[in-house]
Symmetry: C2
Subunit: 468 residues, 2 copies
């Protein structure tokens, strides 16, 4: 289907200014440039205007104007996305939710909070922690990303392995539909069996079906203690093998992160982190356990260490004090940025059933050998979710632009053959659309297009995303 | 929109027989009568034929015939539904999944199982328990209901409070669409951010969008120990108040069930259960904690008992042995059937934010006083999910049929004003359609109708359900 969009005229711009106040409508080059990119590689799509509404009513009014004028609208959180979801491919409006950053209510009796989409995830985590509560969804970018973006992309993070995905923590959403109508998708309840679940449909829809303007999240009691371990292995397959065995021993860690040697080397090299990468070590697991009883946690660490030994773990560091735990965690947390800061790269967000991780990793290396690229892999091993960072290094531009997509296609073909999918937590957005045909039958893609058309018949909301 | 259906002709019946084998096509009155009802009150809708396919290919072929012949198809699990979801309102085919009852695979490394929809929930629970694993979705009818029906209705049960809803445990679904196409909705992964989530859309869609023919579920390690407590309270509001306070004390029980005195009295009266209902007691909480460390669980029980005391708990029984635990649980488990076996009744599946339960309960009693009916309330207090059993007793037929719906409407208006919804775990099905207007704006209902039309343009699949 072909959609024709109109440019934003001076008259329309005036309407936006009257609606939002002049100071919340931007057309200067510097602002437009900033909103032309996110953290996805080197992509750049200029919006024609950046709008910063303050509430759902303003969002609704903007969408009504854009519907009647056929102007594309791309919602934007903190711009930390890794799939190009916030890029205004067709220009038009970049609708930033950054001013809608209030925690509206924390209900300590029902253990729920109502927040606006522009709240930084870590801000919410810290505020509820002060009340003895936990919001357990903590993506790597938690210090800067917005919770609205997390919901839109189905974001994950290390704690999914114990606490479940973001889907389990989003109870209700206030959404503005493309025609300007405002609905609540669900109810403020822990259970919901009341017709088609639009809350769940909206999660992971990447701002293509509606604009999220309020979010009701579930909170849980904050566990009182945690312990962190860093385990070294002679091979990646040994490390991955240990992952499944930990669960088989009856323990569900609160984080179970995998890192390749090369990744840890980059961190120690570029981030001034004191950690000795020993000879003969090829992979690491960062393991966290949490709970209310410290003695029990130490006992779990003992049981885990017995499992790890069976898989050739030669070195096991235990973090007990806050400082020690933070030091171990910082290796994992700083890994993505130290990889990205030092080379042109491309990141793939592969995910397979937990036990298939070694097979996937082997295939990635085999493909890399064949196409001549180095990859640095790390990720949420407990979830089978492996971030593959492909490093450009000495690859020619031609290989990088023309051969690499073929290599990535091979990787995804294996991922999907192993029971996996195209993205565990980064989303499809703009850059992964090209691989959708590997995973989905035409009838499946037609259903996705049909859902999009149902919510957004004029295709004004974040066009050019998800479906090829 | 108006849909015209055709009757099943002899020629069509012949096609079904060739397809499924004569022995799996039923048109005798006894069989038809059995499939004309489920466990929802006193409703009765005769199908024209009952079909029992053995695999997705057969389901697909049946749907292709029914699409081309405009014959309605109502999928059916074990018939334990409480909202009339399996009733063939417009006749046609009752498609029973009872022969598709195989556990296809249990992957103890990735902690997943692949099952057919006709597997009895408790069979799966028991089989994985033998492997030290848990499938934690245990609806009240787990001994007879099918897992396919659980998925279709978004069923819950006592353990949702700690382990989350069924949505967290369904990774992937094989679904036959009304046109006969077979798709897998997702991937066999713990995380999934790959376009609109059709797995989540299918969960709770009550067999109106497609027929589920395989289910991949997530498993977790089986906790090694559990303890059960039964606490007595002088008032329902005290008991409900204690529920929130337990979570505030930092403890997440694995079950937290509420029972009114009158309900427990019915069980002891009709089910020959030995349990003394003492004077001055108006409500009970059944509390279960589970985990790997028994000492830790006893400590949690101590902490809980301190909380309960503050809310006037006068009597606290602890179940430690299997027999003791089973005795306490059986009071709660036998409650629904002993209420239902002894009176014409109507059950409403209200759900509100946890802390609003006392307010809701008070309103239910107030409405009951005004309209002259008795209600017996019990349910999953930890989830804010209250089953309201309205007893006909001496109400006239006129009051029962004409006045009661008005009373129920008042109850739902309160439920929704408190942030709740029409059903926590029973679904909308046939009987709750009439109340959808209380919860949903017209634009929201239109989106639901649009989704239905997208998947099933001829409206042959379970017509007459969910949307009014």
């Amino acid at each position: 289907m072909y959609y024709k969009y109109n440019k934003i005229t001076t008259a329309v711009l005036e309407k936006f200014k009257i609606l939002l106040g002049e100071e919340n409508v931007f057309v200067d080059q510097e602002t437009l440039s900033h909103y032309a990119k996110d953290q996805t590689e080197d992509l750049y799509f200029m919006p024609e205007a950046v709008l910063k509404p303050i509430n759902a009513i303003q969002v609704s009014s903007v969408l009504k104007i854009c519907t009647s004028e056929s102007i594309p609208v791309t919602p934007r959180g903190a711009g930390t996305g890794l799939s190009g979801g916030a890029l205004p491919i067709f220009g038009g409006v970049s609708l930033s939710l950054e001013r809608m950053n209030h925690i509206i209510d924390i209900d300590v009796n029902s253990l729920q909070a109502t927040v606006e989409p522009g709240v930084i995830t870590e801000v919410l985590i810290n505020v509820v922690e002060q009340l003895g509560l936990r919001y357990p969804v903590d993506p790597g970018s938690k210090g800067s990303c917005f919770i609205g973006g997390n919901v839109a992309h189905g974001s994950g993070g290390p704690r999914v392995v114990k606490y479940g995905t973001i889907r389990e923590y989003i109870l209700n959403l206030q959404v503005v539909l493309p025609n300007g109508e405002i609905i609540w998708t669900g109810a403020n309840t822990l259970k919901y069996a009341s017709g088609y679940n639009l809350t769940q449909l909206m999660i992971g829809s990447e701002g293509t079906l509606g604009i999220i303007t309020q979010i009701v999240v579930k909170l849980i009691p904050q566990p009182k203690h945690d312990l962190v371990m860093m385990a070294s292995f002679p091979s990646a397959s040994k490390a991955c093998g240990a992952v499944s065995a930990i669960f088989r021993a009856g323990i569900t860690p609160s984080a179970l992160e995998f890192m390749e040697r090369s990744g840890v080397e980059w961190v120690t090299k570029f981030d001034n982190i004191k950690f000795e990468v020993k000879d003969g070590i090829e992979a690491y697991l960062l393991i966290e356990v949490d709970g209310n009883d410290l003695i029990q946690l130490h006992s779990e660490c003992m049981q885990i260490s017995e499992v790890l030994e069976r898989f050739g773990c030669s070195d096991l560091l235990l973090g007990e004090s806050s400082r020690e735990k933070e030091e171990l965690w910082s290796i994992r947390r700083k890994l993505p940025l130290s990889v990205k800061a030092n080379s042109v790269y491309r990141e793939e967000d592969t995910v397979v059933p937990r036990a298939e991780l070694p097979v996937l990793l082997q295939k990635i290396k085999e493909v890399g050998d064949r196409y001549g690229f180095q990859s640095i892999c790390y990720g949420h091993a407990g979830d089978g979710n492996l971030h593959v960072n492909i490093i450009k290094a000495s690859l020619s531009d031609d290989d990088w632009h023309n051969q690499l997509p073929l290599a990535i296609r091979e990787i995804f073909e294996t991922t999907i053959a192993l029971g996996g999918t195209l993205s565990g937590e980064h989303g499809i957005g703009y850059i992964q659309k090209q691989f959708m045909d590997i995973k989905f039958k035409p009838v499946h893609l037609e259903l996705m297009r049909g859902i999009k058309h149902l919510f957004d018949p004029l295709n004004i909301l974040n066009p050019g995303k998800i479906t090829p």
